[in-house]
């Protein structure tokens, strides 16, 4: 079968399942007794295994399979759950993640996972991972050894499933299948039989287990437990249709009678396992299993109701957007024509079209909106790991994960946030000892918050840590020559805090592994500014810090100031403009060979775009300069142009990979007359 058409769906869904695994594992860590969570993880892993096997990613399938075995053993209480096991499962999920990533980027999804698999096998066998938990594992080992005696029996989970199905009017069958003794491809027959059975109902269990059947680790007969609403006869015929089947015996049975056997089972358990173990094995199971089974049913109905969305490839949306942009450009032209022709009927039609396209624009932009959740949900894992590495206690709270942002912004915002969170955990939140000494709760709180306000989205990271030590920041900034001692005295608190965004600045005394690997917060600031956003800090020493990022709702449409330089038109993003001014040539001064102007008491250098851009000269000069004052952080510059055309909303277009090296040009846009105007990159102009 041609699989490539399903690849995208596979990748998307795999990522979702892995994310679900991650989330549930974190929950499980907080609530290790909760078997319901184990079931959730198991289900996600199981689906992933099935999908990757179908798609032919064997490595992915086998690692998931191994992980599934461990999960299965946990939920069946064959092994004792411990933080060490959780760590290994986390590692496995990381590997799976990397494999899916590899597939997504066109690779084959292969990866050396021996170590993790080895560990998983050890866990599954109940053998110690290391010396420390050898004692615990010993108990688990004895528990596993008697596992084979369970053959033909149902554990309590399965019993409950069977019982519930029976209650809902399904038949439960035990089917004994015997293959012909000269059967050549046993695994293939098993596969066909299972396929036939799955079209009739749901296979709950098989003896020997499916994996062994697939590996042909059986003689000629095996048993399958099936839940179905078909009659026994039909099932029998369906299986007999598969060639090389000798005999089929379909027997209806009742789960209730089966559950009677359970006490016996527990008795066997008790003989082998210490009585301490018994508490865990029996008590929680009976409490937890029922809701665990009830939930999937709820979930299924829930998805059926909410399943009114479709997945659309982002490329298609881009194409739609492109087409729409052309429409907007044509609309601009029509508006021009109608205003010159002064025809009433044409004018009305054009006006109505403008309104409709306006609405259409909103809808298309909304379609590209994605909840910020997709970025946020990778942080709990990261924070957990970091807190462990740093020996800190962190409570991460996420607020407003449903807030929506344009897909393009979502793709870009992840890295800066990772950096800020690392920063908050490393430099912000203190160690438990320090916190205790300062009368704070041992556990530090970090809040990641997103919300809409006006035409912007705010993403905030708040911690109740040490805050920013102003003297330390100042002395460092002076040391590194970022500010002079004189200027330092005049700075306000927030200006001091902003200093940590200066390039080459790091508040850590030592370069640690977590942050400060030569990459400073200046990179964060640059990324956010390149997205047309801004970042501010509020910090109180001893109480904590608040980093606030303001972002535009979308990147594809930006506000610009159109200017003329001789015969050429350029667009300057409004986000970097402070204001425009007309300056008399007589007021221009020279300082160190640089022309400057006095702008509201500040000395601002003048940049002559005509020279920087080598614009061919066509007309004479006047006595005045038209200047656009732009900023890059705290630095200002005056861009000298020949005329202002006006403010306009434009559709941002990429210059493409071929011209990516163009100096001081960040993109292009198409104007109403169909011509291309270049968008200036003010950050590159100001050094």
């Amino acid at each position: 079968m041609e699989m490539s058409q399903y690849l995208e769906v596979f990748i998307e869904e795999s990522k979702e399942h892995l994310q679900a695994c991650n989330e549930h594992l974190l929950e499980l860590e907080k609530d290790p007794e909760n078997l319901q969570i184990v079931n959730e993880i198991f289900r996600a892993a199981h689906t992933l295994k099935g999908m990757s096997a179908t798609m032919g990613y064997e490595d992915l399938a086998s690692l998931t399979h191994q992980m599934e075995n461990v999960l299965d053993a946990i939920r069946n209480k064959k092994i004792v759950f411990s933080p060490e096991i959780l760590d290994v499962i986390f590692l496995a999920v990381d590997d799976l993640d990397a494999m899916v990533e590899s597939i997504a980027s066109g690779g084959d999804g292969k990866r050396n996972v021996e170590e993790v698999v080895e560990k998983l096998v050890l866990i599954e066998k109940g053998l110690p991972l290391n010396q420390k938990n050898a004692a615990e594992a010993e108990v688990a080992a004895t528990a596993t050894e008697k596992a084979p005696t369970r053959e033909n029996q149902y554990d309590q989970f399965e019993t409950t499933v069977l019982q519930q199905s029976a209650d809902q009017g399904f038949f439960t069958y035990e089917i004994n299948v015997t293959l012909k003794s000269d059967c050549l491809l046993k695994a293939a027959r098993v596969y066909m039989i299972f396929e036939a059975l799955e079209s009739l109902g749901e296979v709950v269990k098989s003896v020997p287990p499916v994996e062994e059947l697939e590996e042909e680790k059986f003689e000629f007969d095996f048993m399958v437990t099936l839940i179905s609403n078909e009659i026994a006869n039909k099932i029998e015929t369906a299986i007999m249709k598969v060639s090389e089947v000798e005999k089929v015996d379909v027997r209806e049975f009742f789960a209730n009678s089966q559950s009677v056997k359970q006490p016996e089972q527990s008795e066997i358990d008790n003989q082998v396992v210490e009585s301490k173990q018994e508490d865990i094995t029996n008590a929680p199971v009976s409490e937890n299993v029922a809701p665990a089974v009830a939930k999937p049913a709820e979930k299924q109905t829930a998805t059926k109701i909410s399943n009114k969305t479709i997945r659309v490839n982002i490329e298609r949306l881009d194409i739609l957007m492109n087409l729409f942009e052309e429409l907007v450009i044509d609309r601009g032209r029509l508006e021009q024509i109608s205003s010159t022709l002064k025809d009433q009927e044409l004018h009305e039609t054009v006006e109505r079209m403008s309104r409709v396209t306006g609405d259409l624009q909103n809808i298309i932009l909304n379609m590209r909106m994605v909840p910020v959740e997709t970025v946020f949900n990778r942080f709990p894992r990261m924070v957990r790991q970091l807190a462990r590495d740093l020996n800190k206690k962190i409570d991460l709270q996420i607020v407003g994960a449903e807030t929506e942002l344009d897909r393009t912004v979502i793709d870009e915002i992840g890295d800066p946030l990772v950096h800020l969170i690392r920063n908050a955990l490393d430099h912000g939140v203190e160690t438990p000892e320090v916190r205790r000494a300062n009368n704070k709760d041992e556990e530090g709180t970090v809040i990641l918050r997103a919300y809409h306000s006006g035409n912007h989205v705010f993403i905030e990271l708040e911690d109740d840590g040490a805050g920013i030590n102003k003297e330390k920041v100042l002395s460092k900034a002076i040391n590194k020559g970022i500010v002079t001692t004189e200027i330092a005295k005049t700075l306000t608190d927030s200006q001091i805090a902003e200093l940590i965004f200066a390039s080459g600045f790091s508040t850590a005394d030592q370069i640690s592994d977590i942050s400060g690997r030569g990459v400073g917060l200046d990179v964060v600031k640059n990324t956010i500014e390149s997205l047309g956003g801004s970042i501010t800090i509020e910090s109180e020493e001893g109480k904590g810090s608040l980093f606030s990022i303001q972002l535009p709702l979308t990147l594809s449409i930006i506000s610009v100031m159109l200017v003329e330089i001789q015969a050429e038109k350029y667009a300057i993003p409004l986000s970097s403009i402070i204001e425009t001014a007309i300056v008399n040539k007589k007021d221009v001064m020279l300082a160190h060979n640089q022309t400057v102007i006095d702008f509201r008491g500040k000395v601002v250098p003048l940049l002559f775009l005509k020279d920087i851009f080598d614009v061919p000269s066509t007309e004479g000069e006047s006595d005045y300069y038209s200047v656009v004052i732009v900023r890059k952080g705290e630095k200002l510059a005056g861009l000298v142009v020949d005329g202002f055309i006006g403010q306009q909303e434009v559709v941002l277009k990429s210059l493409g990979t071929y011209l990516s090296s163009a100096y001081a040009i960040s993109g292009a846009t198409i104007l109403g007359d169909g011509q291309v105007a270049l968008i200036m990159d003010c950050n590159a102009l100001i050094k």
């Binding site: 851009f613 080598d614 990979t657 071929y658 011209l659 100096y663 291309v676 105007a677 270049l678």
Partner: protein
């Protein structure tokens, strides 16, 4: 190029300083008349700028300048050939483009050493067709990005 496998290939023929050049029709998306080109500052001189090609901002280079031939003013016969190159659309400006021929690929020959000038680096081979000599252009080399990168690096160091 001189493989015995004989398959037909359609070639678009264009002219540059009296010589005939050819590219495969598979590489060509469309042929446009000269239109308004927005200049890009501080970039290699052969990059004439970008055009609005049905909503896509498309880079355009002047093939004469790329081959270090002298620049001439654009005329009525000047054409922009739009090419699809690894997912990016780019255009080349040529003196004229007015022929399509079917050529047996077995006729392809390596470039003779008599071809002079910088263009020899961008040539895949030649085809002799009756009395015509068609020069096969290697578009990937024509649109080599490292040349642009080097140029802009020098520029920003100034």
């Amino acid at each position: 190029m001189s493989d015995a496998v004989s398959t037909e290939e359609k070639l678009i023929i264009f002219e540059l300083k009296g010589k005939e050049y050819a590219i495969s029709v598979n590489e060509v998306m469309s042929i446009e008349k000269n239109m308004h080109i927005t200049r890009i500052p501080n970039i290699a001189p052969f990059v004439k700028g970008v055009i609005n090609l049905r909503g896509v901002v498309t880079p355009i280079i002047d093939l004469r300048l790329r081959f270090n031939l002298e620049e001439i003013p654009y005329t009525e016969s000047t054409r922009i050939i739009i090419i699809m190159l690894e997912d990016m659309e780019v255009g080349i400006i040529v003196d004229s483009a007015n022929d399509v021929v079917d050529v047996d690929t077995s006729l392809y020959e390596p470039a003779p050493e008599t071809i002079s000038g910088d263009e020899v680096d961008y040539i895949k081979g030649v085809v002799k067709l009756d009395k015509r000599l068609l020069i096969l252009v290697d578009l990937e080399k024509v649109f080599d990005r490292t040349i642009l990168r080097n140029y802009s690096n020098n520029k920003s160091d100034e």
